[in-house]
């Protein structure tokens, strides 16, 4: 991939609705939280999982910005450390909009992803909290169930 297309999201900030921010912090290891209680290594990992879960469940992207208070978690330069995520976000946008040309509009792609993340966050938080085990096991079982259900179907 040519360098100039390597990370088109580098200059775009990633936000989450402020109401979910405490849970985002709680379930990430960034602050030194233990792995079993905080399965996501970084906040961006939780955000990305929320995007995937929302897409998987066909949730409608939530409105983000406007009256909904948001908190920045990091900027898109973080994808430089996981370049496959750049491709995934582009493919997700093509799959959701049916428009291949969207690859040239990183802001549109990020808006779509952020909307999906906002819709998926409450679901992921529920997956982390619901269950008898620690968060990592609750989430693992929920993802396992989600993948099996659709696989069987």
């Amino acid at each position: 991939m040519a360098d100039k297309y390597f990370n088109p999201f580098a200059a775009i900030d990633i936000y989450v609705p402020t109401e979910f921010h405490p849970d985002v912090v709680r379930f990430c290891q960034s602050g030194g939280n233990p792995v079993d209680q905080s399965p996501f290594p970084r906040m961006v990992d939780l955000w990305f999982a929320a995007v995937c879960v929302a897409a998987r469940l066909n949730l409608k992207p939530a409105e983000i910005g406007g009256d909904v208070p948001t908190t920045k978690i990091i900027d898109g330069a973080i994808f430089g450390s996981d370049p496959w995520r750049v491709h995934t976000l582009m493919l997700l946008a093509i799959g959701k909009t049916g428009d291949v040309q969207i690859v040239s509009e990183p802001r549109k792609i990020m808006n779509l992803a952020s909307g999906l993340a906002a819709a998926g966050l409450p679901k992921v938080i529920e997956m982390l909290k619901d269950g008898d085990g620690e968060a990592i096991w609750n989430l693992s079982e929920a993802v396992d169930g989600m993948l099996r259900k659709k696989s069987a179907a």
Partner: protein, 711 residues
């Protein structure tokens, strides 16, 4: 600062002892030769007590007796204890004529009295006096601590005055990781003198609180007033909690240390009491548990990695990705990707022959015309091609994201579960095994061991209590800081709405900016100096152990990580565990390399006084440690046993300006040849150097007898 001489009176074994230290820059080594139990560690303690007071004594001096153990209280109950140290401080001043050097000499005298009453004693707080010495006499200096704090910062005390065994505390495996990190971090921050920036941050934070008060005044009874008041309370709470956190950290570290010390004492008692097998089994069980805990932690991290890996995304997004790849495949089938037109045309231009076989030679008129046409086609294609190129890149670059039909994440998860469950079972078994051994230990009739185990349990409880306190405070601080952040945003928003708010807001922003700048400077200095210490430590260490990567040495390098861990690497950057993979000599070399690096990078001209630096070392490494230490230190004072000296005599010949011998008369008749004729326990000095002996210090060569006495 250089040590000149020291005198001790009634300080434990040092009833009456005078020492001189070499200050010759060409022979900067002082060797104090002494067998075990002759007062080496006592001299180290006495020097520190003279300079830093009770806080420098083991256990901060609590329950630490200073008077000689065989003091005859029937003759005199009140024991005067005196430690005097003379030192020289050199100051440099740059002038137009060059650098000017000024040397000043000082004498510090610390005194204390202990009332001996049967088996107990009471000590009043010690008194300290500092005098400047000059040709005309002595001048008292007030306060004495000011000079000492400048020349030998108390935070670096353990770097300047080192017990060879305790030095291992920077890497020893038994203490908690946080304890080791705190030690290294404290030493590095202390050497940088970062207290100046810390003070500045503290003062600016106070100004920030003032600004907040102004905001409260503007606010009247409004939301602004309420928020500003809450911020004030939060700031007070944060300051209080930060103090509590420091305290909890120190307490945790102290009890962690005590747990390990007691553990070691139990191990030694078991070995002495013919319970060697039980002790070996216990150690093996502990090692196994530690190993399994490390594996469990790694497995937990692998589990967490499942939530940042691509398998989770590709499996969850499989339906959407199918759609997207379908679109890309269609474009591919239509020949729109990959975009090959431009490369093909460019290739033909370079060959000077068209696809149809006609010439594209620019020298030929027709060829030139065809060439111009092709160049125009390429330019037009390039303009329309930007998006197509991105799509082409995506088509080829995202191949690894293509759903394969199988659920990769589920397979990986299955493996992780098997690994975690298997390890957890093994850990449970190892725990049971350990508990069974502890039951055996509890059943031992040995009262010494039971007493020690009782103490150990108590220390463990205390350590865990402070660990839990530490976590609770950290959580509280995290919550308060988050709340503070939100409130500051809200306060600033309300200030913007107020007429008088603009000025207060500007002040608030300025103070915040200053805090940010100071904090960044603090972090940056720490980081940069950390790298310097790390490099210097690595150079010292590799030289000491003679590791040459070109010669296939196992140890390739050592570093201090950004988290303040001291790490050692083998071939292919494999991490070596300093406790398991390094021998005793290399461990000692590593810690001494760290201490010498700290002293050097601090640029503080200070002595390194090291007790038993060459224990557990021999041959090349022993000589190399000594040579490196002599070279790297500004003034090196070593307390060496006869065994440590053996094989290094020629280095001492060259480097030492002063050598003397200390003898414990209680070693007669088992280890000393002649009766020193002294009935009380006291360290006696003679002028014998590392090669000579006199009737006082002449020792028997019966090693077994010496070991018995030492134990």
């Amino acid at each position: 600062m250089k040590l000149l001489r020291a005198e001790f009176e009634n300080f434990r074994l040092l009833r009456d002892l005078r020492l001189e230290f070499s200050t010759d820059p060409a022979r900067k080594l002082t060797v104090i030769r002494a067998a075990n139990e002759s007062g080496k560690t006592t001299i180290l303690n006495a020097l520190q007590w003279a300079l830093y007071g009770d806080a420098a004594l083991p256990g901060k001096g609590e329950e630490f007796r200073l008077h000689p153990i065989d003091w005859d209280a029937s003759v005199k109950r009140r024991v005067p204890i005196v430690a005097t140290v003379e030192f020289e401080v050199t100051k440099y001043r740059r002038s137009a004529l060059g650098t000017r050097e000024t040397r000043r000499r000082y004498r510090i005298v610390r005194t204390a009295f202990e009332e001996v009453d049967g088996r107990t004693s009471r000590r009043a707080h010690s008194e300290v006096k500092l005098y400047a010495l000059n040709d005309t006499g002595v001048t008292p200096i007030e306060p004495p601590e000011a000079i000492i704090n400048d020349e030998l910062p108390p935070d670096l005390r353990e770097v300047f005055f080192t017990d060879g065994d305790r030095a291992l505390s920077f890497i020893e495996a038994d203490v908690a990781v946080s304890t080791k990190r705190d030690r290294v971090q404290r030493a590095i921050r202390a050497l940088l003198g970062l207290s100046v920036i810390e003070d500045a941050i503290y003062h600016v934070k106070k100004s920030s609180a003032e600004v907040n008060k102004q905001a409260r005044a503007i606010g009247g009874g409004s939301d602004l007033n309420r928020i500003a008041s809450r911020l004030e309370t939060i700031d007070e709470d944060i300051a209080g909690l930060e103090g509590d956190l420091d305290d909890a950290k120190q307490q945790f570290e102290a009890f962690d240390e005590k747990v390990n010390e007691t553990d070691r004492t139990i191990a030694a008692t078991l070995r002495k009491g013919d319970k060697e097998k039980l002790q070996r089994d216990l150690e093996a069980a502990k090692r196994k548990i530690k190993q399994l805990d490390a594996q469990l932690e790694a497995a937990g991290k692998e589990h967490a990695a499942l939530f940042r890996g691509r398998a989770l995304a590709t499996d969850l997004l499989a339906p959407v990705l199918d759609e997207a790849f379908g679109k890309l495949e269609a474009l591919h089938d239509q020949g729109k990707i990959p975009s090959t037109t431009i490369p093909v045309l460019e290739n033909r231009l370079s060959l000077n022959v068209c696809i149809c076989g006609e010439t594209l030679d620019p020298a030929d008129a027709e060829g030139h015309r065809r060439r111009h046409h092709i160049e125009r086609v390429i330019a037009e294609s390039k303009r329309a091609d930007a998006i197509q190129e991105m799509i082409t890149d995506l088509y080829y670059g995202a191949k690894t994201l293509r759903p394969l039909g199988a659920n990769t994440w589920l397979d990986e998860y299955k493996k992780v579960v098997a690994s975690r469950d298997g390890l957890q079972d093994m850990r449970n078994d190892a725990g049971k095994e350990f508990r069974a051994l502890e039951v055996q230990l509890d059943a031992l009739p040995d009262t010494d061991i039971q007493g020690l185990r009782e103490v150990l349990r108590d220390y463990k409880d205390q350590r865990d209590r402070f660990l839990s306190k530490k976590s609770t405070i950290q959580t509280q601080l995290g919550n308060l800081q988050r709340e503070r952040q939100g409130l500051v945003q809200e306060r600033d928003r309300l200030l913007r709405e107020q007429k008088k708010g603009a000025r207060v807001l500007a002040e608030a922003e300025v103070t915040q900016d200053v805090i940010t700048v100071l904090q960044r400077a603090y972090d940056r200095i720490t980081k940069e100096e950390l790298a310097k210490v790390s490099d210097q430590m690595n150079a010292n260490f590799l030289e000491m152990i003679g590791a040459d990567p070109q010669q296939g040495a196992i140890i390739r390098r050592a570093e201090i990580s950004p988290e303040f861990d001291i790490l050692v690497y083998g071939p292919e950057e494999r991490k070596l565990n300093p406790d398991r993979d390094l021998n005793g000599a290399s461990r000692r070399a590593l810690t001494l390399a760290f201490i010498l690096a700290l002293t050097k990078i601090s640029e503080v001209e200070a002595p390194n006084v090291i007790d038993t630096p060459l224990g557990m070392t021999s041959g090349f490494v022993k000589r190399s440690i000594l040579r490196t230490a002599v070279r790297e230190s500004a003034q090196l004072v070593l307390f060496l046993t006869h065994d440590e000296i053996a094989g290094c005599e020629d280095i001492i010949d060259q480097a030492a300006g002063t050598v003397c011998t200390i003898t414990n008369p209680a070693h007669y008749p088992k280890m000393l040849v002649n009766n020193p004729g002294v009935t009380e326990r006291k360290a006696l000095r003679c002028e014998c150097n590392h090669r000579s002996e006199c009737p006082l210090c002449q020792r028997r060569s019966d090693v077994r007898a010496e070991l018995e006495m030492a134990s």
